[in-house]
Symmetry: C2
Subunit: 768 residues, 2 copies
């Protein structure tokens, strides 16, 4: 953290994968075509809750080109999911690969492998299934009603996924007693889906020694390895999971999916490779969404704005299976201990099963929901107390020494820095004083809002996170980094190569990254919790530092200098006080009496504490009071990342997060018919993501305000942060524009028009 002159870190070097991605030559899982490849498809139930009384696959099996059909009769009776990490409490174990029961509309009930996708699809229609319908619940109220049908036999009962999470600090009643202002409200959120460009896809191939090679688009290749090995009854070294490029994951691809198990089983049955690829529709139906939620929030404030008590109840809708609900509930609930300092908190978090598609991990992981509510109520309090909303946040922002949601102390004053910088850069004061009208467009009102957030790197509950990296120098001085860290498309491998090059003292171009092969790279927990650069970056830096010493020892021998007197920059080893005394790292790799060149391999392993990144988002919206359309015009996102490794990549993360955040706040919502559980908009025609023309002017500011001692040169995560603050910032700006408070997302044009009507009536009733 004390290094002064960075040569590679902090620069937007050209990503090594950029050309192959632009030319289309980069290999994604779907690009693997093996000889004899079969195509697998899943038959999906058209009923939300039922028992299968008969399933007849004989016609499908007889169909020309069909090679195998699997039903619940043919698969191991092993409860899977959950425990993707063997020591994790983040997931539940409540799902069979196939079962004689259906718990949501679209759940897979059989799988076919055939010589083409078309034939597999046609064969699905030939599978006959008889169902005995079961009473179903389609929302959290119905699920929690007395006498409600129970969706699972496992779990604590009452359709709870896990026992309620309860967190209490200080004395909430005492806090409320000291409050000058008490606010109470209910908040809700929809079901946004991480619409990654690359639908889920996998290819399974068994070799003659009964070893499974498995290509899959996953963030967590070692977890997939573990789950496949467990379900298939194999030792870990008989399952090889490979990932090359990925077209996004956003958290959802850290789950274990039904199709992955079925693909492996079909390939084993056919003794031929099998590919299974989701349609876009299936990414909705069988993928993972963010948890819909309902939250009750009561907070007390002193006159000066100080938050003195917080009482909260949040209910996450898990859908038909638990997936990441335990982690989401824990992280989301715990997040409400912080952001704004509060000595007296009482938090209750629950996850509830319903007969709807599965909610899972998605960027922002439970926190998007709670901070949406908290940051809207913070705005309401500011207004009531007559305090500027930005000033209100500055007064309450967590800071150095406060306790983070993970239980660790906060490092530095990152949140205050973000707010202060944003006030300045956005021109907050001037804007808030400006006219809400827009010249020439009488129906349009402008508004300005702020939202804040903090999010942990490596802050997963119940997991001992660990980063590993191996760095080796080849005989010609070129360097290979072996890492299990996944490359979702975020540029993580570029950042890791930068860290290795910087620490080692070679050029960025000389470092090549090998990744995504569980047989050969060191174990990795997977890409989530915004931790790759922080966690694996630290391990890579450790490995590079060790390797550098060994290379310098060789240089010292050749230059007849002391190691302490040498430095290595851009692949040149030089004696510090003798500029002419130097040699290239390639020359240093020549014959030596010391370490043989061929064995210059070093490994680093790092178990972090939790670190927190911070952000404040300042937005300008325009609301058309005739159409109800909200347009987000400008965003100034200010992020504290501790130390930026690749500015353009960090900026890309921030812009992408804002796009997704605008989506779930304004338009994105995967809708389930609450009368029968059917999907109503499983596809990109009816599910509305923001397009490029919907994007605001984004003026990103990246701060290195509060470096974390655990990250490489202080670096912290940035992956999840940008999706969190944008939501409440927009809702607050909309209120600023039209005076209507929304406590839910998405805020649709219909909501706006209804809200305006209600407000008009309210004003009329009040005689204003």
């Amino acid at each position: 953290m004390t290094k002064q002159d960075f040569r590679i870190v902090g620069k937007s070097v050209k990503r090594a994968d950029v050309i192959e991605k632009v030319t289309g030559e980069g290999k994604y899982t779907g690009d693997y075509h093996l000889p004899g490849l079969l195509h697998g498809k899943i038959k999906r139930a058209e009923i939300a809750h039922a028992r299968i009384t008969r399933i007849d696959v004989s016609k499908a099996l007889a169909y020309p080109g069909v090679k195998a059909v699997l039903t619940h009769h043919d698969v191991p009776k092993v409860l899977h999911y959950g425990s993707p990490h063997p020591r994790s409490a983040s997931c539940t174990k409540d799902q069979y690969i196939l079962e004689d029961k259906v718990r949501f509309w679209g759940e897979g009930v059989a799988a076919v492998a055939a010589v083409s996708e078309e034939i597999a699809d046609e064969a699905l229609d030939l599978i006959e299934v008889d169902y005995e319908p079961l009473p179903a619940v389609y929302d959290i109220d119905a699920a929690q009603a007395p006498g409600a049908p129970q969706i699972h036999e496992v779990g604590p009962g009452g359709n709870l996924v896990i026992p309620p999470v309860h967190i209490e600090r200080g004395d909430v009643e005492k806090g409320f007693a000291e409050a000058d202002l008490i606010l109470e409200g209910e908040f809700e959120g929809g079901r946004p889906v991480p619409t990654y460009m690359e639908p889920n896809v996998c290819v399974a191939d068994w070799d003659g020694s009964n070893k499974l090679t498995f290509w899959t688009s996953t963030q967590t290749s070692f977890m997939v390895r573990g789950a496949l090995a467990e379900v298939l009854g194999l030792p870990l070294n008989k399952v090889r999971v490979l990932v090359d490029h990925m077209g996004g994951g956003f958290g959802a691809k850290q789950d274990l999916f039904q199709h992955e198990f079925l693909c492996a089983l079909l390939a084993r049955k056919c003794r031929r490779p099998v590919k299974m690829e989701f349609t876009r529709r299936e990414t909705f139906i069988a993928g993972r969404s963010r948890h819909p939620f309902r939250m009750w929030l009561k907070q007390g404030f002193r006159k000066d704005g100080t938050l003195v008590a917080r009482d909260m109840k949040v209910i996450y809708e898990s859908g038909a299976y638990g997936s990441h609900s335990p982690g989401v509930t824990n992280v989301g609930t715990a997040s409400a201990t912080s952001l704004y300092r509060c000595e007296n908190v009482r938090l209750d978090g629950r996850a509830v099963y319903t007969n709807t598609p599965i909610a899972g991990a998605y960027r922002g992981y439970g926190v998007v929901q709670t901070y949406f509510a908290i940051d809207i109520q913070m705005d309401e309090a500011a207004e009531k107390l007559g305090i500027d909303p930005a000033e209100m946040r500055l007064r309450n922002a967590v800071r150095e020494g406060d306790i983070a949601p993970s239980g660790h102390p906060i490092v530095g004053r990152g949140l205050e820095a973000c707010i202060s910088h944003g006030i300045e850069a956005f021109g907050w004061q001037a804007k808030r004083g400006a006219d809400r009208g827009v010249a020439g467009r009488p129906s349009v009102r402008r508004g300005w809002g702020i939202g804040c957030e903090m999010h942990g790197s490596s802050a997963y509950p119940g997991i001992k996170e660990q980063g590993n990296a191996t760095v080796k120098m080849n005989e010609d001085g070129s360097v290979t980094l072996l890492t299990g860290a996944a490359g979702l498309g975020t540029g993580a491998h570029t950042a890791l190569a930068q860290i290795v090059a910087e620490e080692l003292g070679v050029t960025f171009e000389s470092v090549h990254v090998v990744h995504g092969d569980t047989d050969v790279v060191p174990w990795d927990i997977g890409a989530f919790a915004s931790h790759t650069t922080y966690l694996v970056g630290s391990a890579a830096r450790m490995a590079a530092a060790e390797l550098r010493e060994r290379v310098l020892a060789r240089g010292a021998e050749k230059l007849q200098e002391k190691v302490e007197n040498l430095e290595m920059v851009d692949g040149i080893i030089t004696a510090r006080d003798k500029p002419g005394t130097s040699l290239t790292v390639h020359e240093a790799m020549g014959p030596s009496r010391g370490i043989p060149a061929e064995h210059l391999i070093a490994s680093g392993s790092y178990m972090p504490t939790k670190s927190y990144s911070f952000a404040a988002h300042f937005v300008e919206v325009e609301v058309d009071t005739e159409t109800g359309i909200i347009e987000c015009r400008t965003v100034v996102p200010v992020h504290d990342v501790g130390k930026v490794i690749h500015p353009i990549a960090a900026q890309g993360q921030i812009e992408g997060g804002i796009q997704q955040g605008i989506g779930h706040t304004l338009t994105e919502n995967y809708v389930i018919d609450r009368t029968n559980g059917r999907s109503l908009n499983a596809g990109l025609v009816d599910y509305k993501m923001p397009l490029s023309m919907d994007m605001p002017d984004i003026r990103t500011i990246i701060l290195e305000a509060a470096p974390d001692p655990g990250g490489p040169w202080g670096a912290k995560g940035v992956g999840e942060d940008p999706i969190i603050a944008i939501g409440p910032a927009i809702a607050n700006a909309v209120y600023d524009a039209i005076g209507v408070r929304f406590h839910h997302y998405p805020i649709t044009p219909e909501d706006v028009l209804n809200g305006l009507r209600a407000r008009k009536k309210e004003l009329q009733d009040a005689g204003i």
Copy 2:
């Protein structure tokens, strides 16, 4: 070496690759079919020495389906070969990928990539080449004649590949002066070819980042990586060489081949993957043979059989390029310093270019030739001195403290042990006293002979050999061994897994071997010099020992015992004095305060001294004096391997070596027309290998007589040894049967009949 109870080492465990090899599911390089794959073919010259004056590829390029054609105008002007190991003097650097000159009949002059093999073949005929013939030399006499045409501009001149190797010890003239018997003779050998089952094949694929992935059937993947990187101007981390299963190599596949460079270049030009696969015919024409040789040998003996002087001149025929001639000449010449002890030696070794196909590395590497001569002359001396041939060898055998060809002292008395055991097991005395006739087959004569040999593991000249291995334990206690050692089909990976399992204390089945991927396994020098088990085995054992300590430390924590008090056997950790206090290695991998389970990786690196293995082969032959056919009936091969790791695999090596040795001694000879350089029998119809029905009764005896402190538990190599002693043993047995001495191989039926006629005339002339 002091271990008493082996659980896995020394047992013939079931090879992990056996099922996939038997079912045909095992993947060989030829099994890789990539989407868009093109097929490459090479146009070969039909002239032995010429300059290309014109080469027109326009018709070939216009042929439908042809994607690229390369001639000498299109390839990097880099001299390749040689230096497969960057610090090796074993190979010459005298060949361009393509040149405007042809030096042997069958040399490649152009290459085509097309959508099918057929089209590529057809396109070859459309390439027009005009040659200006050059005077050529087709044998070592013509090549060395004054004024002979010079084949290369590089090298010392006189068609020598390298300056003559000269070794002198003691005082040869003084030795001869003390001798009671001086023998002098000339010896010759043909051109056997290692007819591996899998013809040379490679697949090249470039990715969008300009990285080459290269599957090839090679013994030396890192050398291929180095050569490709050098020729293509890439850093080493931009070339990934992969080998899965191999169908044999026998040394020849440690060379770098013209087709490998051309395949990579064609793929780069087409931006599509390209496969190049030799026909069987091409494995002769463009593969590598053993060096044909001529040798003059003069030795002096005392009356008691003691060898007192040896004067030798050996000339190896290199063919059109140098390939491994420097190594073969050095190793072969140096081998004549030993086997039988002699204080006074003078040795001269040369390699000579001719306009014939290329000789290269082949099991026995120069030593097959020299020991053939030495062991026949030893027999002649025994007869002249009236000493039993086996006794004669016992008196002269090298032993502990003598200096080996490598310059290192011999360990133990392995050769004497082999001879003594063989005398006993073969019933040597009784047989030699028996009648040479065979009841009921009057034309058949029986005979018994002996041959001896020694051969070094890791005894390559000029190379600093090094073995590396990485062993990691997975979360479930299963183990992955990463090694660069090639699996030619010999069972090397099985032996390495045994060594790891034994040292670590887990079951054999729990160890999985990952190999053959230069990106991910530790550097390896390649599979040659009989050194894989010896060299990489030692490194693997070191790595396993380190890993065991880490695993035991975890066990100690959990069992609350001291590490010193624990042992691990078959994956169970037990306290030595408390039989009930135990846990499985899987349990030990559970959460720990110590080393994280996910990072239990250990590496071993080993730079050996040279070790020598020994053998004596006892054979019985039957010679039909009417047809001239020699049948090898029985072989008792006695081998000292120090410590046997996998008895059946070792036995398989010995039987295979004997089969190949019988081949070159009796039938195998790739014949070049000495008037124009054309191949006369490039194929398995006219080139006669011994079939299973030609195989003798082989009664292998494996001794652990002289363990080498450098090998795992004393193990030494066994790969090359069995091909060496069988040749002179057969020649000596033939003499014993019919009284005709042969100083050459192969000894054909025609030779036998001519020999019998000559001997008859000789006896008649002598009036006997």
